[in-house]
């Protein structure tokens, strides 16, 4: 009997510690989820209509921090796993408060998300069909895989890699990088109006596009390529100031 109680206790404690490493919150009435982080952010889909933050196995809280709260840029840890989650109207604002702790966040596929990496963190978003805004403000890379919706992505020194699923909406897609390469894969049959431009980089593509002749008028950003593919459609604008651009058929 005592042995059994011990096992039960152990299980209970195990469940509690396990629960501490995950954080969930219902997404009822939430239109946008905004995430800001210094470190890497990985965004994945799941089927429940709730926010799930997996913080990974090891959370080392310094002995001296006992009874204290983690405070960082953007808020106070109210999840016990180093994140601050605050609801502002129909927007849920999430801050990763640890400077170098990777965050793995799960959201329903149709959720509109805006992710910002403020330092070295990479942004990886996989499988979302809602609107996506990704901004790597300093050195982070942006990698968007199997996305369908309107995408607005920007990076400074990092690369911008986007692999589109089926693109059917009419809201524009905008992908800009200053020093990194812009690498985009698009289904071959996507109806779109493309605008590609680089200042110091080169454009490589297997789509049928060519530079526009503007009767001697040079565009401000040096090289402007405008083309409509498959009869024209959603406006896709890509720009890299110093990096190369790769546009691939998928």
């Amino acid at each position: 009997m005592r042995k059994f109680t011990f096992i039960l206790m152990a299980l209970f404690v195990g469940v509690i510690t396990n629960a501490q490493s995950d954080y969930t919150k219902s997404l009822n009435g939430i239109q946008w989820v905004k995430i800001e982080s210094n470190a890497d952010i990985i965004l994945k889909t799941h089927s429940a209509n709730e926010l799930l933050i997996k913080s990974g196995p090891e959370i080392k809280i310094p002995e001296r921090a006992k009874g204290l709260k983690l405070v960082g840029e953007g808020g106070t840890d109210n999840t016990n796993i180093g994140f601050s989650v605050v609801q502002d109207g129909n927007t849920l604002i999430i801050h990763n408060l640890r400077k170098n702790k990777k965050g793995e966040i799960y959201l329903p596929a149709s959720q509109n998300v805006a992710v910002k990496s403020t330092w070295n963190g990479d942004i990886e978003i996989d499988g979302f069909s809602g609107e996506i805004e990704a901004d790597a403000q300093l050195n982070g890379n942006v990698k968007l895989l199997n996305v369908n919706g309107p995408v607005t992505a920007n990076s400074l020194n990092g690369e911008l890699e986007v692999v589109f699923g089926k693109v059917t909406q009419d809201s524009p897609i905008s992908l800009y990088s200053t020093n990194g390469a812009v690498d985009v894969s698009l289904p071959a049959d996507t109806p779109a109006n493309l605008a590609l431009s680089t200042l110091n980089g080169n454009v490589y593509t297997d789509f049928e596009v060519q530079a526009e002749n503007k009767d001697g008028l040079k565009s401000v950003l040096g090289r402007d390529i405008k083309a409509s593919i498959n009869g024209g459609g959603v406006k896709i604008s890509m720009k890299s100031t110093n990096g190369n651009m790769y546009l691939r058929k998928k």
Binding site: T91, P150, S174, K235, K239
Partner: protein
């Protein structure tokens, strides 16, 4: 005797219309009456003037006149004939009908002209309303929570040939204050087509002072150099002095600054 004056018989006598007894009686009276003699003389002179001094045109004259007339007719040609025809009664009626039809047509044309003008006004008003609607759509899209929608709003500028100040100002606000880099970049790309506007020039200079994204910085620098905006030199020098300005921006500024100062 005087009562037997024969004045009334004088014309008949002169014409030889009196019978012999009357003539004898007339002449018998005439010998005794000086008045009647005098009257007869005057009458005779009067008739003589009539008979001798009204010349009848000779046949030659008549022939000559006729031939001249013919000549004239020939000279005037068919015009005379054509002119003479409409003067007849039924052609006059046709003319009247034609005139009324012409009037009707003219009135109809005028009516349709005014109608057209009205329609044009309506179309202009409709276009105005469409523009108004586009403008409202554009402005409201630019306030949207979604960056993609704001970009869509900014791209609406392509719908306007001559955007008014409100639109330019709204775009300027996007370039200056939008939190999303892509929206600011798109706003810049929209504004760069209107660099003749003073608002755009001052906005670019202001944006150059506060913009953090190097891609937008370099684009603004190029645009300002292209229009040779001298006021851009100051913010460029400031950027040169800043430590966190990207090296390629500094190179760019060093290259173009001499052309502005």
């Amino acid at each position: 005797m005087e009562k037997n004056h024969v004045f009334h018989q004088i014309p008949d006598y002169l014409d030889g219309n009196l019978n012999k007894s009357a003539v004898a009686e007339f002449e018998k009276h005439l010998e005794q009456c000086a008045d009647c003699q005098k009257e007869l003389e005057e009458m005779k002179t009067f008739f003589n003037v009539f008979e001798e001094e009204v010349p009848t045109p000779s046949d030659r004259l008549k022939a000559k006149f006729e031939s001249t007339l013919e000549q004239q007719k020939l000279n005037q040609g068919k015009v005379v004939q054509l002119e003479s025809k409409p003067s007849s009664n039924w052609t006059g009626n046709i003319l009247k009908i034609a005139a009324s039809i012409a009037l009707l047509v003219a009135a109809f044309q005028m009516g349709s002209l005014f109608q057209q003008r009205k329609v044009n006004e309506d179309i202009a008003q409709l276009q105005d309303e469409t523009n108004q609607m586009k403008q409202t759509t554009m402005l409201s899209l630019m306030e949207n929570q979604s960056a993609s929608k704001r970009i869509q709003g900014v791209n609406y500028i392509e719908e306007f040939e001559q955007p008014d100040e409100a639109i330019i100002q709204a775009l300027a606000n996007r370039l200056l204050y939008d939190e999303n880099d892509n929206v600011r970049m798109t706003a810049f790309e929209a504004l760069v087509n209107f660099t003749s506007s003073e608002i755009v020039k001052t906005t670019f200079i202001e944006a150059l002072e506060q913009e953090q994204n190097p891609s937008i910085q370099v684009a603004i620098i190029q645009a300002l150099v292209q229009i040779q905006e001298k006021k851009a030199a100051e913010p460029m020098k400031k950027l040169l002095e800043k430590e966190d300005t990207q090296p390629f921006i500094k190179d760019q500024i060093k290259a173009v600054l001499p052309s502005l100062t």
